[in-house]
């Protein structure tokens, strides 16, 4: 197969295993491209992409923008902080105004879950979801699974634990869908207050004890504690969270095997993981960032490949 089964990349839930494999395979080629002396290909030179960020983001936005520029697309940026959203304009109106300027593809981050799906039903453009509230963050899950595949060869039968704030995390949900589709076993681990009720129905194991979770897994994906999404206290103090759910060198050394440590960033050093773990050989955090550009190039390339001009 060499074409995506979907027109928009709204979530991993809507992708088939073949789609995910195709994106990974295409990313292999783009990874080679971004390591050349001249890191640019002309594939999307007649495509205009709007990056609509209704919520703050640094690395995802940078990563998408770099991917777009490496593909030679024309790029316009929009962030809600300096826009008419503040003046009361609706999402559909905002996007239609931007599309009236002849934009082909929209990359959107929005604080509301389902914003991407909603938009895809009301506007005439291809949409790539760059994170919608606590719902999905498909490109992050694609790059996480790509990074694991690169490190361990395959995902089939591999055991991955996602540690931390599962409740507020779009990275967790997209990762669960993606890893399960690729045949990995998934466990979530964190304080009971930060684990959604009925999470087992997604086919994941639940473990409250970090040490036991780490003994079980091949890969640990450490999520950031998202203070900005917590409207009430979910744990007594950061210190207590660190003691129960923080990974340090001592804990890693007490395990019988070397596990792979991942983090979607930005790291709270000393909270989810200590500095010596973040900078160790077991951590593939910076590989994730590099792979992020290649994965986003692959997603944009494959979505754009399905745009046809009616001439």
């Amino acid at each position: 197969m060499s074409e995506l089964s979907v027109d928009n990349v709204l979530g991993i839930k809507y992708l088939t295993v073949e789609d995910i494999n195709l994106i990974h395979k295409t990313a292999d080629q783009f990874k080679e491209v971004i390591n050349r002396p001249i890191k640019k290909v002309p594939s999307l030179r007649d495509i205009t992409i709007a990056n609509l960020f209704f919520e703050n983001s640094t690395r995802t936005k940078l990563s998408f923008e770099l991917a777009e520029k490496r593909l030679s697309a024309d790029v316009i940026n929009f962030s809600a902080a300096q826009s008419s959203v503040k003046k009361g304009e609706t999402l559909v109106d905002t996007v239609n105004n931007i599309l009236a300027m002849k934009v082909d593809l929209v990359v959107m981050r929005h604080p509301h879950p389902g914003a991407g799906v909603f938009l895809s039903k009301h506007v005439d453009a291809r949409i790539v979801n760059a994170g919608d509230g606590a719902h999905e963050h498909p490109t992050q899950a694609l790059l996480d699974s790509y990074s694991i595949r690169e490190k361990l060869g395959s995902l089939k039968g591999k055991k991955v634990v996602i540690v931390g704030d599962i409740l507020h995390s779009r990275v967790a949900l997209s990762n669960i869908y993606c890893l399960k589709k690729l045949g990995a076993e998934v466990m979530v681990c964190g304080p009971a207050t930060l684990l959604p009720k009925h999470i087992e129905s997604l086919g994941v194991k639940v473990e409250l004890n970090l040490k036991k979770a780490l003994e079980w897994c091949d890969v640990a994906n450490m999520l950031r504690v998202q203070n900005e999404r917590m409207d009430i206290s979910y744990f007594p103090s950061v210190r207590e969270y660190v003691q129960q759910y923080g990974v340090n060198r001592e804990l890693l050394d007490s395990l019988k095997k070397d596990i792979v440590i991942m983090h979607p960033g930005p790291i709270n050093r000393g909270v989810e993981i200590t500095s010596d773990v973040a900078d160790s050989d077991q951590a593939i955090i910076l590989n994730q960032v590099e792979n992020g550009v290649a994965i986003r190039m692959a997603v944009l390339y494959l979505v754009a490949a399905k745009i046809r001009r009616n001439d």
Partner: protein
Amino acid sequence: MSQKLLLDAAALDIILHRLACQLIENHDTFENTALVGLQPRGSFLLNRLAEILKTNYKIKNLKTGLLDITFYRDDFRRNDEPLKANSTEINFLVENKRVVIVDDVLYTGRSIRAALTALQSFGRPDTIELLTLIDRRFSRHLPIQPDYNGRQVDAINNQKVKVLWKENGGEDAVYLLKNED
């Protein structure tokens, strides 16, 4: 669909040796030369030529690479068939090198146009030449001609030239396929 044999294994072998000798004539020890095969089909021809140059003519340190032109093609989103990317393996800088692009069939010239653009991403070569096994003359869309050529073929547009290699299709041969309708 009928097919006509254009080259059999013996004829192909003679042509490969001739092409190798012509390359030596112009590139001597290949000190500053790199052979770059176009993915996917140019890789077989490249490997054969490299093998002959190394074993029969004792060329040492021959630099070879594979170039994929998918992202540089001018028919992206215009074709019914989606484009599929292959790997690029160029582990040297082409800056100031004499590059020979190697491909099996030269038809419209569009692939070579894309390859010329793609090569620029690896630096500024001193010169670029083109080596092809089959030149389908009279079919060109662009002003591109080979510097080294195996066999010229006059084929009309609904005909297809099929190059088979032992490594790939079980025999060394070149066929001309015709649609009978």
